[in-house]
């Protein structure tokens, strides 16, 4: 089976084959030809759908995994990686969408809390690093900053409102 793996947007193509009770995974180059030796992966289940013990070429590696929409959030050796694993068709669809570009950039609440203050208004030009709003959670005020330059297209929430993880607070074009 062929999969496309996107790590922080960087693309890797692999083939996956059964290797006894385990898996053999081979990286593919741009032409779809194998590049490098197959990696042997044995997967032991510690907690179904949550935690696994992997032997990767006999290297012992614990993996905590969570499904987030179509992505996998994996914690490997302390590092946290958000990875998309796509089949051929999905990867094609993904590529087309990526080429068209996604216009809006939504700024979401990274945690559940209360919006203390929104420091920008619709139409404001903002620069990367500028504080957009202040979110209070766990008794701390957290300044949420712009990760890109742009113009505020929409302010969805206002001061005093409670927001949940992932709620869109504002959008930057």
């Amino acid at each position: 089976m062929k999969y496309h793996v996107l790590i922080d947007g960087e693309h890797h193509a692999v083939t996956l084959a059964a290797d006894g009770s385990a898996w053999s995974v081979t990286m593919l180059d741009d032409d779809g030809a194998p590049s490098g030796k197959p990696v042997h992966i044995d997967i032991g289940t510690l907690r179904e759908a949550h935690a696994y013990s992997l032997l990767v070429n006999q290297r012992s590696i614990d993996v905590a995994v969570e499904e987030q929409g179509s992505s996998l959030s994996m914690v490997i050796g302390g590092g946290r990686y958000k990875v998309d694993v796509l089949g051929e068709r999905e990867y094609l669809a993904h590529s087309i969408k990526a080429e068209q570009g996604d216009g809006d950039k939504t700024v979401e609440a990274a945690m559940t809390g209360i919006v203390v203050d929104v420091l920008v208004a619709e139409g404001d030009a903002v620069t990367k690093g500028q504080t957009l709003f202040i979110l209070e959670a766990m008794k701390m005020e957290n300044e949420v900053k712009a990760s890109v330059d742009g113009v505020v297209a929409r302010v969805a929430r206002s001061a005093g409102e409670t927001v949940n993880l992932g709620d869109v607070v504002l959008e930057i074009e």
Partner: protein, 504 residues
């Protein structure tokens, strides 16, 4: 001397459990109090009795002094241990406990008051001859005064909450332009956190180390110091990693700081456990910052090197016993480090994280202590402090302690909530920590030094692992789908990615 038989612990989480453990070892019965969110928490389960206070918000549970006193009465408790935070430094509560004829395991209301107001405390310490950081002797409200005082002290200045603690209500102003807005924010945060928005200014020291001294006083006028703790590894003005001894301090400076700490405590007739916080600058001059009139979060590293159970001392002193050791009898062995496990995303501005703990595994083995309030199934919510647990190691020297902590952190497994465990391992392995040359600005001054690195080889490994994991999860999904309820639409996109024909 008053006999203690039953102690109510007016707190939650790891510190409530920690106090309960010592009570049990002393043969004392314990009463836990809990909010609805904490019904199944370890402190409830470890206690002899447990009394519900109310709903999850602290204002309806752990800050309800009236309900706590009611619980003490109903269960026949004769003493209340406040832990830290919540009501531990609330003089009204302390007085109410005493008025109810109960023992408060901590200092007198007078001593708390003397140190609770940071500005008042500065005045008293100056009078007692304890060095303090240059700054204001009064709180500030007038914008004009704010500017002139900032000019007098010299920029940068720290804006601090008069009633502060735990890093809350602190801002640093580096320019006159930002002074007023930062002061406003500090004041509003302080008002929300402590019910008191008063702020003041203090000189902001460059390359300062945050080093504190544990002291202990009894009701017979004895005060000892139990060595220092180095707490300079901080982010968001909150401590993350502490160690003892401090790599900066030699025996001479240790004695000087210890003597100053004892002087400060004696100046206010201090009784029970307390901590004098100092800033030490690059010239190894030290200035008292504030006194915490309670047990400190990082007290276990002092316990590790001294062999003293500080909570046992607290309970004995509260019962009127004299300190069991003189200054000369207190000795330290080896090196101890504490790491605070926070629910936060260290790779994303240390933002607090929430979630439900799906799986939990702690490190074990030689020289590793776990003080935790976590449990599987626990919902980590914004209601309470994001500190989940403390991991403490003790070894024969600093290098061995660092290696042991790194090993221990690698064994921590918390699934369902993002923690700072990996971040702390990176700090341990960084040059500043390894060399012992770090200060309170090290983390936030050089965030790139502590960011995760991803090599090409690692990236390829992750791609392979991700493919195998994704395929395995999909297969299991297919297998379990028959007996389980339909999954939420949230994961449907993921299922679609693996529908027949999706993969070649």
């Amino acid at each position: 001397m008053r006999e203690l038989k039953k102690v109510l612990i007016a707190n939650r989480g790891e510190i409530a459990l920690r106090v309960i453990r010592t009570c049990r070892e002393m043969g004392l019965r314990t009463v836990a109090v809990f909010s609805d969110a904490d019904r199944n928490a370890p402190h409830v389960r470890a206690a002899y009795q447990a009394v519900r206070l109310g709903p999850a918000p602290v204002g309806e549970s752990y800050l309800r002094a009236d309900k706590i006193l009611e619980a003490a009465k109903a269960t026949g408790a004769d003493a209340i241990h406040p832990g830290f935070g919540f009501l531990s430094e609330n003089t009204t509560f302390v007085q109410a406990v005493r008025d109810a004829g109960l023992i408060f395991v901590g200092p007198s209301p007078e001593a708390i008051l003397a140190m609770g107001d940071k500005i008042e405390a500065r005045r008293r310490m100056v009078a007692a001859g304890v060095p303090v950081v240059p700054g204001m002797e009064d709180p500030v409200t007038d914008p004009e005064l704010l500017r002139s005082e900032a000019e007098r002290i010299g920029l940068p200045v720290m804006i601090k909450a008069s009633a502060g603690g735990g890093g809350k209500g602190i801002r640093i102003a580096r320019t006159m332009d930002e002074l007023q807005s930062l002061a406003d924010r500090a004041s509003s945060e302080a008002a929300a956190a402590f019910g008191n928005g008063a702020i003041y200014l203090e000189k902001y020291l460059e390359e300062p180390r945050h080093i504190e001294v544990q002291i202990f006083g009894d009701s017979h006028g004895n005060v000892v110091h139990i060595g220092e703790r180095e707490c300079s590894i901080q982010r968001r003005h909150q401590k993350v990693i502490e160690e003892r001894p401090s790599p900066l301090i030699d025996d001479e400076l240790r004695e000087k700081m210890g003597a100053a700490a004892v002087k400060a405590a004696k100046a206010i007739n201090y009784e029970n456990a307390g901590t004098l916080e100092f800033l030490v600058d690059k010239h190894r001059d030290f200035y008292m910052l504030e006194m915490n009139t309670r047990l400190q979060v990082e007290h276990p590293i002092t316990e590790a090197t001294s062999g003293i159970d500080l909570v046992r001392w607290q309970l004995d002193v509260a019962a009127g016993k004299p300190l069991p050791m003189t200054q000369d009898e207190i000795k330290h062995e080896g090196h101890a480090i504490e790491c605070r496990l926070y629910a936060e995303d260290a790779d994303n501005g240390f933002l607090p994280a929430v979630g439900t703990v799906k799986r939990l595994e702690w490190p074990g083995g030689n020289g590793v202590r776990i003080d935790s309030g976590l449990y599987e199934g626990m919902a980590v919510t914004p209601h309470y402090d994001p500190m989940l647990a403390k991991i403490i190691v003790h070894a024969h020297d600093r290098d061995a302690a660092i290696a042991r902590m790194s090993r221990a952190l690698s064994e921590v497994q918390v699934t369902g909530v993002v923690t700072n465990a990996a971040f702390m391992r990176r700090v341990l392995h960084s040059e500043p920590f390894q060399s012992g040359r770090y200060d309170t600005h090290t983390i936030e001054g050089h965030p790139e030094d502590f960011a995760p690195k991803l090599s090409d080889a690692r990236r390829r490994d992750i791609a392979c692992i991700a493919a195998a994991m994704a395929h395995t999860l999909r297969s299991r999904r297919g297998f379990t789908a028959r007996d389980s309820a339909p999954r939420s639409s949230r994961s449907s996109a993921w299922v679609d990615a693996f529908r027949p024909g999706a993969a070649s």
